[in-house]
Symmetry: C2
Subunit: 347 residues, 2 copies
DNA sequence: GTGAAAGCGCTAACAT
DNA sequence: ATGTTAGCGCTTTCAC
C-alpha cells in the first residue's frame, strides 16, 4: 500500500492535500477545538487524514502542549507475582482514560530507582504512580521537588507528603491473628518484612499490637526480621526462628513469598504445615489455590487500589485541588482461609 | 531546593548561564559530538548542567533526530504468568543498551492489538518486539507496511516475512511424548491450543508426527481443541476428551495453563493425576514447584529468547543488513520432569 | 572550536 | 470560520 518512502504524514501534508491551513486541520482533529470549525471541513479533514493514514505525532503535541498524556508507574520488580495484577488494573484504567502507562522498575535498588524516576520525569510523564517507595525515599523527594503529580500505592513514606492509597495492614494482620488465635494458637510468631519499607514496619507494629489485644505476652509473640520480601529471606528468617523459638505453633509472615520461604524452612526441619506449624501470608498472589499447601492469606482489593490511585492522580494532574491535600485512602483487605492454617497440635 | 516555579531547565538556560551558545552546550553533552568541543568547555558544561539539574527533553530530541531510543513490546496479557519473565529479560537488556521499553497489551483482542500497535508506531518507537502474533495478523502487516523494525517472539505468522525467534515446539513436544511413552503410555491425547496461533498449531503438528514416530496410531492419539491458552479452555476441552476417549492414560497439553485446566477436569471426574492420567504442560511458568501437582513441562530459554530478539531488533534498527533477512532463530527447550506424570495404571 | 539560524510536527495566540 | 505566525527544546547545517 504505502509503497513509497515511508515518510511520516503530517498535518501539513493533509492541509496541503485539502488546500487549507495546518491549523484548521489541527483544530478539526482536536475534539476540544472542533467547535471552531465548520462541520463540512471537519468531515473533509477526517476523511482525508484517514485516507492518507495520518496519525498525529505525540512527541510534537507533547512538546507544544507540555502534557504527554502519559503516566509513569514504578514497581520494584515485575517478577514479583503481586505486581502484575496491580499493573494490569492500572493499565486498563489509564488506557480507558486516554493515558498511556509507562512502567519502570527499581529492581529493589535505590540508586537505579532514582535514575529511573528521573528518566520518567525527563520524558515528561504527566504524573507518577509509585508502588515501590521506601520509608525514606529520594525518589519521592525528587518527584515532590519537581512538582510532579504523585500517588503512592501500598508503600508509603514516613512523612505524609503526597497522596497515598494503601491497604489496611492493621486490619489484615488482625484478621490473620484472630483466625490463628481462634484456632487455638497461643504462641504465634511474626516474620517481619524490611523495616525500611512501610508495609514491613506497619505489619510488624500491627502484629505486636494485635498480640497485645489478645493478651498474648511478648515472649509468646516473637518477631524475626527479613531483609527482603522474598522466599529466600523468608526461609533464612524462619530457620532462625525455629532455632530460637521451637515452641511456636503458628507464623504470620509479612507476605506470601516470605510465607513460602517459611514453609520451606519448616519442612526442611522435618515439620509439617499446618500440622506442626500454621503459616499465613499476605497479598493473595495468583494461583495460590493450586499450591501444595494453599496459603491462608489476606487478599488486596486490587481493583480499588488501582481505581483510587488513578483517580487521585488525575485529580492532581487536572489541578482539582478541591479537597485537602495530601489525601490518604485506606482500603480493606479480605481474609482468605486456605489449608496452611489449622488447629495447633497440642490443642 | 528547586523552590521556584519548576520550569524546565533547557539547553538555552545552561548556555545562558555559561554565556555560550546552545549549540555548544548540545555538542558538549552529546558523546558523538564532544570531539568538536574543547575539553575545557565540556567540563564547564557538564558541571553547570549538573548544578542546574538539566536533563534533556527526549521529546525534543526525538522530534529533531527522528529516533526515540524507545522500543515497543507487545504481549497478550501481563496476567499470563509466562510473560513477566520474558518482559523482565527484555527490559533489562534494552535498558542496558540505552533503550526504554514500552509495553502494550492486546488483551487477546485483534482490534485492540491493531490500535495499540498504531499507537506504538505513532509514538515513534524505533522498533517492535511482538510476542502476541496470530498466524495471520494485521498487526504484523501494519508494522511491515510502515517499515518498522520488527521481531516476532514465540508466536509467528505463516509467511516468514520478518525476523523471528522461537522455541522448538517440535522438540519440546517430542521430549514430552517420549517421556510419557517411556513411562509406558500408549494412549496419549493432546489438548491443542488455538489453531490461529502458530505455537498452538505447531505443537499440534508436532504431537501428531511424534505419535507417528512412536507408532502410536491416530486412534490412540486423539486431539481436542481449545480456543484459548487458558485454564478455563483447558478444562472444557478435557471434559470433552474424557467423554470421548475415556481410555487415554496421558495428556499432552499445549501449555501450562491449559494443563492446569486439564487437571481440574480430571479431578472433577473423580480421577487422579498422575495415578489415573498423566498430564504435561509447556512453558514452565513460575512457582510450579510449589504446586500440589507439580507439572512435568518444558522450560523455555527465556534469557536466550530475549537476548536474540533484542539483538536482531537492534541490528535492524542500525540497518546492519549484513545477513540474510528475514532471519529465524530456533531455540531449544528443556524437559522438566515433575510429579504430574507417572507410569500408567494398567502397565 | 564556536555561534547563528533553521526546522522536526504540532498548536495557540493573534489576526482577519 | 479560517489563515498567519511563532515557538515548544533540541540538533544540525552552515558560516566564521
Amino acid at each position: 500500500m504505502n509503497n513509497d518512502k515511508n515518510k511520516r504524514i503530517t498535518v501539513k501534508d493533509v492541509a496541503a492535500a485539502l488546500d487549507i491551513s495546518p491549523s484548521t486541520v489541527s483544530r478539526a482533529l482536536s475534539p476540544e477545538k472542533q467547535h471552531l470549525v465548520s462541520d463540512r471541513v471537519i468531515e473533509l479533514v477526517e476523511k482525508k487524514s484517514r485516507e492518507m493514514g495520518y496519525t498525529a505525532n505525540p512527541m510534537a503535541t507533547a512538546l507544544k502542549r507540555g502534557a504527554t498524556k502519559t503516566i509513569g508507574m514504578m514497581i520494584p520488580d515485575i517478577l514479583n507475582p503481586m505486581f502484575p495484577p496491580l499493573v494490569h488494573e492500572i493499565q486498563q484504567l489509564t488506557n480507558r482514560l486516554g493515558y498511556t502507562l509507562t512502567l519502570a522498575y527499581t529492581e529493589n535498588n535505590q540508586e537505579l530507582a532514582l535514575e529511573e524516576i528521573k528518566r520518567l520525569i525527563a520524558r515528561n510523564v504527566d504524573g507518577i504512580i509509585l508502588a515501590s517507595a521506601f520509608r525514606k525515599d529520594p525518589t519521592v523527594d525528587y518527584c515532590l521537588d519537581q512538582g510532579k503529580p504523585l500517588v503512592l500505592v501500598n508503600r508509603v513514606i514516613d512523612k505524609q507528603a503526597s497522596d497515598q492509597v494503601l491497604v489496611d495492614d492493621r486490619e489484615g494482620i488482625y484478621m490473620l491473628f484472630e483466625h490463628l488465635h481462634s484456632l487455638g494458637h497461643r504462641k504465634i510468631a511474626h516474620v517481619a518484612g524490611p523495616s525500611d519499607i512501610s508495609s514491613g514496619l506497619s505489619r510488624r507494629h500491627a502484629f505486636l499490637s494485635t498480640a497485645d489485644m489478645f493478651d498474648v505476652p511478648t515472649s509468646d509473640a516473637p518477631v524475626v526480621q527479613t531483609d527482603a520480601f522474598t522466599e529466600v529471606s523468608g526461609k533464612k528468617a524462619m530457620r532462625e526462628l525455629l532455632e530460637q523459638h521451637p515452641d511456636i505453633t503458628a507464623v504470620v509472615a509479612t507476605n506470601d513469598l516470605v510465607a513460602l520461604g517459611c514453609i520451606a524452612a519448616i519442612e526442611e526441619a522435618g515439620l509439617q504445615v499446618p500440622k506442626d506449624i500454621s503459616v499465613t501470608g499476605f497479598n493473595d498472589m495468583p494461583y495460590l489455590d493450586w499450591f501444595r499447601i494453599p496459603l491462608t492469606t489476606v487478599s488486596l482489593p486490587q481493583a480499588q487500589l488501582g481505581d483510587q490511585a488513578v483517580r487521585m492522580l488525575l485529580s492532581q494532574i487536572r489541578k482539582e485541588s478541591d479537597s485537602s491535600f495530601p489525601r490518604k485512602v485506606l482500603l480493606q483487605p479480605k481474609l482468605v482461609v486456605r489449608k496452611s492454617t489449622g488447629a495447633p497440635k497440642t490443642a
